[in-house]
């Protein structure tokens, strides 16, 4: 149950909702939404981050379906993407919007996760909301990784090879995972088919399920209130109605974000490089997408330690960090200060090593 909901009775709905309410048992849902409220204070804008992530996910589903009309995995992959950006009406725009939306979704999921941690919204009873959110972040990154190879251009090919090499270095399961992803001894056309299946069916299906659970938990438990807000005297606490006020505000934020997304796509169309040549040497400056850049850079600078190779050490560090982040609701409720320090360290590490990574490949 939400921490703050008004008790006032709602009136019978009119219009489409009224029509539906006459035929189906939705009055309870309408009453619930009408009572639901969202805290309104200085940091309320963080509440829009989750909605923005959802919006970019929806954009990706829509543009992804449109791209599917023309995209062909396998040997024709690069030619089909070239056809999309050069011949199909608005094809270039759809592809650019799809690619930018993917990156922005990951960015906002990151922002959302860190804001949730700093606002301590992972506390009891919201453990499952947090964990499903963390799974969504991992799936988003998987979505980005699997989609990156699909155009089969030079950059995508070599960056994916790097990613798969990292996966293969995971102790015990790494080689098996790598083989499963590659579909053969090397990254090739079979890999595209596997990534395509994962990108279009596997991960989106999982995401939809987990997202459904995440949203359900939020609706049932309501939006959490940070300590500063809770401590306010009742007369100073302000709330806005979830429906319609917060929902309309969310809609306006989405509208602005969509405009920003399309401006990016129009002025900086997503590039399609030359078709990948598997026999060519790795070009200089090849690097993974920004959300893997910190890991890439850390692996580059880690030394071997005795029997442990640098990649193994890296995987242990990433694995431990991931587990600790995912398990924050369980170990963090009694060590909140430690959670804050740990999260700041992770965040700083991500930023610093990403900058170093881009500097090392000559991008900055």
């Amino acid at each position: 149950m939400s921490e703050h909901q008004t008790d006032q009775k709602t009136t019978a709905p009119s219009g489409v909702l009224g029509w539906l309410a006459d035929r189906y048992q939705i009055q309870g849902l309408i009453d619930y939404l009408a009572k639901k409220e969202v805290p309104s204070y200085r940091h309320s804008f963080w509440y829009y981050m989750g909605g923005l992530s959802l919006m970019f996910f929806i954009v990706q589903i829509i543009t992804g379906i449109l791209l599917l009309f023309y995209y062909t995995p396998g040997k024709e992959a690069h030619a089909s993407v070239q056809f999309i950006v050069e011949k199909v009406s608005f094809g270039w725009l759809i592809r650019s919007v799809h690619s930018y939306a993917a990156n922005l979704m990951i960015f906002f999921v990151f922002v959302h996760m860190f804001s949730v941690i700093f606002m301590k919204a992972y506390r009891r009873p919201r453990e499952l909301t947090y964990i499903t959110g963390f799974i969504l972040l991992a799936l988003s990154m998987g979505m980005g990784f699997s989609g990156y190879l699909l155009p089969w251009d030079e950059l995508a090919y070599f960056a994916t090879k790097i990613g798969i090499n990292i996966t293969e270095s995971v102790p015990l399961i790494g080689p098996v995972l790598g083989d499963m992803l590659k579909g053969g001894p090397e990254v090739g056309f079979d890999t595209i088919s596997r990534f395509f299946a994962l990108h279009v069916w596997g991960i989106p299906l999982l995401m939809t399920g987990v997202l459904g659970a995440h949203l359900f938990f939020i609706q049932v438990q309501g939006i959490s209130e940070p300590d500063g807000f809770k401590a306010l005297p009742a007369e100073k606490k302000k709330y806005v109605k979830f429906f319609p006020t917060f929902m309309y505000d969310d809609l306006l934020v989405w509208l602005i974000a969509i405009n920003g997304l399309i401006v990016l796509a129009v002025f900086f169309p997503w590039e399609l490089g030359p078709e990948a040549n598997v026999l060519a040497p790795t070009p200089e400056g090849i690097h993974p997408e920004w959300y893997f850049m910190a890991m890439f850079q850390i692996l580059k600078i880690l030394p071997n330690l005795g029997p442990l190779e640098s990649e193994h050490i890296g995987n242990i560090i990433f694995g431990l960090t991931g587990v600790l982040l995912a398990a924050i609701p369980f170990w963090g409720s009694k060590n909140e200060r430690l959670v804050t320090y740990f999260t700041i360290a992770v965040l700083a590490g991500l930023v610093i090593f990403s900058i170093l990574g881009y500097h090392a490949v000559g991008s900055i």
């Binding site: 804008f45 950006v85 050069e86 011949k87 199909v88 009406s89 094809g91 270039w92 725009l93 592809r95 650019s96 806005v240 319609p244 006020t245 917060f246 309309y248 505000d249 809609l251 306006l252 934020v253 509208l255 602005i256 969509i258 405009n259 399309i262 401006v263 129009v266 002025f267 169309p269 997503w270 590039e271 399609l272």
Partner: protein
């Protein structure tokens, strides 16, 4: 032909120019629409009944005053500073040939600012009967400014028969004048509503706010329905070459057959639709939630749309002449033949007068700065860079320059670019400089040495 001013060049990128132009446009358009909005807002029955509503009107008046005075005058001055720094030739032509228009506009701006100040000081009171009349006067002043600004801008777009007749009336009532005045008036009314929304974001929740929001939204929404009509009308008044560029102009990489112009038109339409929905959701449906952050994003959206539209308009400009001057570089058409036998020798402020093997890079830079920085838009059709992405050798650059030389105005390049004036040796110098700048020409130590000396102190290499 040119002036001894430093070259601002890349310091003022097209984006800054477009941003300032957008602010200026928004500010100019705010007067007419803002005046109508304030006059009508005061004429409503609720004005005398509700102190909350009067407070809202006062805030909206403040928003109009601020827009007209601060960003308006800053943008006005900034535009001229940019023109003078980046394109002294163009600035000279504009200030001399269109001086009366700019003077009227500057005077009108001052008058509008003064009126807006008086309006604000006496806003939100019930006993001041003359206040509404003052708001109407403000709107009338705004419309006068609109008439003048629109004449200058539409003339740049479609100079038409004026180039032959040289009559002021032909310049003023050019082909696109009425259509663009109609369009600008509609947008101006929308701007009145946008500033009303800013006023709304500054007042507390009340029934008067809800009522005012719904009414304000109509200011933005109703003109929207007439925009397609205005756009179609305007489209058919433009030069065929200009409109053809939208559909058949050069496309960039990975953008199929969408030229930069068609992409901008798409963005402009998207922006207009988004403003409509913003007003509908933010005002008509959700006045309670319309607070300062929303107003901020609304203004960002309006500036973005306005900037993109201005950018589109600028790119639609065809190279043309004003009183015998080629617009983009301020060169006299009558000088064309003479300049083609040697441009640098005639360029008053050029430190290089004759191209030699040693000074070829410096000569190329002089030619580039004097002829190709004449338009402040650095990207799109008027930028050489857009066309030279594939050039690999000096010969590639030379081939390109050869086809944009004066006299070949029917080819697809000179429809969109300022023509090049100069001798064969000068064309070669420009090509060499551009190739060297792009890292595709290896200069001799003598050439780089001369260029370093020239860059450090141009006066030291005066021929």
């Amino acid at each position: 032909m040119n002036y001894p001013l430093w070259q601002a060049g890349d310091s003022f990128s097209g984006w800054i120019y477009v941003l300032i132009h957008a602010v200026f446009t928004v500010s100019t358009l705010s007067v007419f629409g803002g005046g109508i909005y304030l006059a009508l807002a005061e004429s409503r029955k609720i004005y005398s009944l509700s102190p909350e509503y009067r407070e809202f009107v006062k805030r909206a008046t403040g928003a109009v005053l601020f827009t007209v005075t601060v960003p308006g005058s800053l943008a006005f001055v900034s535009l001229w500073v940019i023109y003078i720094l980046t394109a002294p030739g163009t600035a000279a032509v504009l200030s001399v040939q269109l001086s009366w228009m700019w003077i009227i506009q500057a005077l009108a701006l001052a008058l509008e600012a003064a009126t807006a100040f008086v309006l604000y000081k006496s806003a939100g009171k019930t006993e001041n009967a003359g206040h509404t009349d003052l708001a109407w006067s403000f709107a009338a002043l705004g419309f006068l400014t609109l008439i003048v600004t629109n004449a200058a801008l539409s003339f740049q777009q479609t100079p038409g028969i004026w180039t032959d007749t040289q009559k002021a009336a032909d310049a003023w009532f050019n082909a696109s004048y009425l259509a663009s005045l109609f369009l600008r008036s509609l947008v101006s009314i929308q701007m009145g509503g946008v500033l009303g929304f800013v006023g709304l974001s500054l007042v507390e929740k009340s029934s008067a706010k809800d009522e005012a929001a719904s009414w304000t939204a109509s200011f933005v929404m109703y003109p929207f329905f007439f925009l397609p009509l205005g756009l179609i009308w305007y489209y058919f008044t433009l030069d065929e070459k200009a409109t053809a560029n939208i559909w058949t102009g050069f496309s960039g990489v990975n953008t199929s057959d969408f030229s930069i112009l068609s992409r901008l038109v798409f963005l402009s339409v998207l922006g207009a639709v988004s403003i409509f929905f913003f007003a509908f959701v933010g005002g008509a449906l959700n006045a309670t939630g319309f607070k300062k952050p929303m107003a901020f994003w609304f203004i960002v959206l309006v500036l973005l749309t306005s900037g993109v539209t201005e950018y589109t308009r600028t790119l639609l400009n065809q190279p043309y002449s004003i009183s015998g001057f080629a617009f983009n570089n301020g060169i006299k058409i009558s000088d064309a033949e003479e300049l083609n036998s040697g441009f640098l020798a005639k360029a008053r402020w050029s430190v290089v007068k004759e191209v030699t093997d040693e000074n070829i890079l410096a000569a190329g830079k002089e030619l580039h700065d004097l002829q190709f920085t004449g338009n402040p838009v650095s990207a799109g059709f008027v930028s050489l860079d857009t066309f030279l992405k594939e050039a690999k050798t000096v010969q590639d650059y030379l081939d390109f320059i050869s086809i944009i030389r004066w006299g070949s105005e029917n080819n697809i390049y000179t429809q969109n670019l300022p023509p090049f004036f100069g001798s064969d040796a000068e064309a070669n110098a420009l090509a060499t400089y551009l190739a060297w700048k792009a890292g595709q020409y290896e200069a001799t130590p003598e050439q780089t040495g001369f260029f370093a000396k020239y860059s450090a102190n141009p006066a030291s290499v005066v021929q």
